[in-house]
């Protein structure tokens, strides 16, 4: 199991690369949510043999001991994030706060700011996840509107719900396919739980890739086709455009690896904050967690649909 994880975790449980991300964006724009890069959700895996010492920490809201795991996935049930091992007492919000995704968001390494999309006449650069109502009001997450009192908002909620179900489908399929995830876990340590869950997710994606012949390559080809069609067609109908460059005082840049983030960006000529600098990180965090942006996202969506 350790071998499976070591060998394939970087292949199968990774963030979508640029080409795949473009495909996801195109698909989600066709489904009514431009700028949505997948859906995010948490679920619990009951832990039968939880040690007494940990039982308070791992007590979930249904009164059972469980381990929480968080998944961000796209339409093809391909997980972009798989984070296991949070204590069951955590809610969606606190799992997100402790997940490796949030670390990257805070440093501005994720999501990539190079894709620009237009909503209600406003252009945005920050991509978002479709999430359910348990998530915090960040600009990173598109929650359903709490009180939809308008047909437009109702429609938005409907679309958002349809996209959000991707993550739920991942769990449903994972459980029906791998029974060890369905039944209470009988391991004594969290580490083995994490290993098992990761190995299962990797094997699942591997099996899926072989079942649908050449799924990954098909994704890439269709994304390339969509891209070339966009270039030839008019710019107005495109779901998103590649951003030309940074403007004054804004967070901009591709997804930065942790190693390269430390080096000063030579190409940057003072137009925006240097990628990886403290100011950049501060701005990225503020932008991703902005509540006003989140609320205006709601408004724009209700006008957009």
């Amino acid at each position: 199991m350790e071998f499976v994880i070591d060998k394939w975790v970087s292949t199968y449980l990774r963030r979508p690369m640029d080409v795949e991300l473009e495909h996801i964006l195109t698909r989600n724009a066709a489904r009514g949510l431009p700028g949505c890069m997948g859906s995010i959700d948490c679920t619990h895996w009951q832990w039968h043999k939880c040690p007494k010492a940990l039982s308070g920490q791992y007590l979930d809201r249904k009164g059972r001991r469980s381990v929480c795991f968080e998944t961000a996935g796209d339409e093809n049930r391909k997980t972009g994030l798989f984070f296991v091992g949070c204590p069951g007492a955590y809610h969606d919000m606190s799992v997100l706060a402790s997940s490796p995704l949030m670390l990257d968001v805070n440093t501005g390494a994720w999501p990539p700011r190079t894709n620009q999309y237009t909503l209600n006449g406003r252009s945005r650069r920050l991509l978002f996840y479709a999430a359910d109502a348990g998530y915090p009001r960040y600009a990173l997450c598109a929650l359903p509107h709490p009180k939809p009192d308008h047909p437009k908002l109702l429609l938005y909620n409907r679309l958002e719900e349809a996209t959000r179900k991707d993550a739920e489908r991942i769990y449903a399929v994972l459980w029906s396919q791998w029974f060890i995830m369905k039944y209470p876990a009988r391991y004594m340590s969290v580490l083995r739980l994490i290993k098992t869950a990761k190995a299962t997710a990797i094997l699942h994606i591997m099996a899926m890739e072989h079942k649908r012949k050449g799924l990954i390559s098909a994704l890439r080809v269709s994304a390339a086709a969509a891209d070339s069609g966009q270039r030839t067609g008019d710019g107005q109908s495109a779901a998103f455009t590649k951003d030309a460059g940074p403007r004054q005082d804004c967070v901009w840049g591709a997804a930065v690896a942790a190693a390269t983030a430390d080096e000063p960006d030579a190409a940057d000529d003072g137009r925006g904050p240097i990628v990886g600098s403290a100011r950049y990180i501060y701005m990225a965090e503020a932008e991703a967690k902005n509540t006003d942006r989140h609320l205006s996202l709601h408004n724009d969506f209700s006008e957009h649909v």
Binding site: W178, I180, L203, H210, K211
Partner: protein
């Protein structure tokens, strides 16, 4: 995978050699340290006898059922393969090819001095636990 079945005699020879080596080494160490080994559990009188498990037969059965030996087609088809192991055959082959040379999957000698399970048995067992 068919190659493995052909190497049975070779493996048996290496197993016997290893067994003899271990036994001789243990006896030499005991003589040198001058203590009499106290036998704990294991195979002795009035204990449950060792089972003569035939791991070769088990591995052969897996191969016969799902891969096919001696140019005969496998007993079970693709659907049953993915029902049993939860992953389709190409994925299984890929997994097996990546895994079977690991130290864990290499054939060892167990405490009764007989060869342990094959790599394919270990992979199949792991998948059966997961799925």
């Amino acid at each position: 995978m068919e190659d493995e079945v052909g190497e049975d005699e070779l493996e048996l020879a290496s197993v016997l050699g290893a067994r003899a080596c271990f036994g001789a080494r243990r006896a030499r160490l005991d003589i040198r340290s001058g203590h009499v080994r106290k036998r704990v559990g294991g195979s002795r009188r009035w204990r449950r006898p060792n089972r003569q498990r035939d791991f070769d037969l088990g591995a052969l059965a897996i191969l016969r059922d799902h891969v096919g030996v001696e140019w005969r087609p496998p007993v079970y088809g693709e659907d049953e393969f993915s029902d049993r192991f939860r992953i389709p055959r190409p994925a299984f082959n890929r997994l097996f090819r990546a895994i079977y040379e690991l130290p864990f999957c290499r054939r060892t000698v167990n405490a009764t001095g007989r060869p342990q399970a094959h790599a394919i048995q270990k992979v199949a067992a792991a998948l059966r636990v997961l799925g």
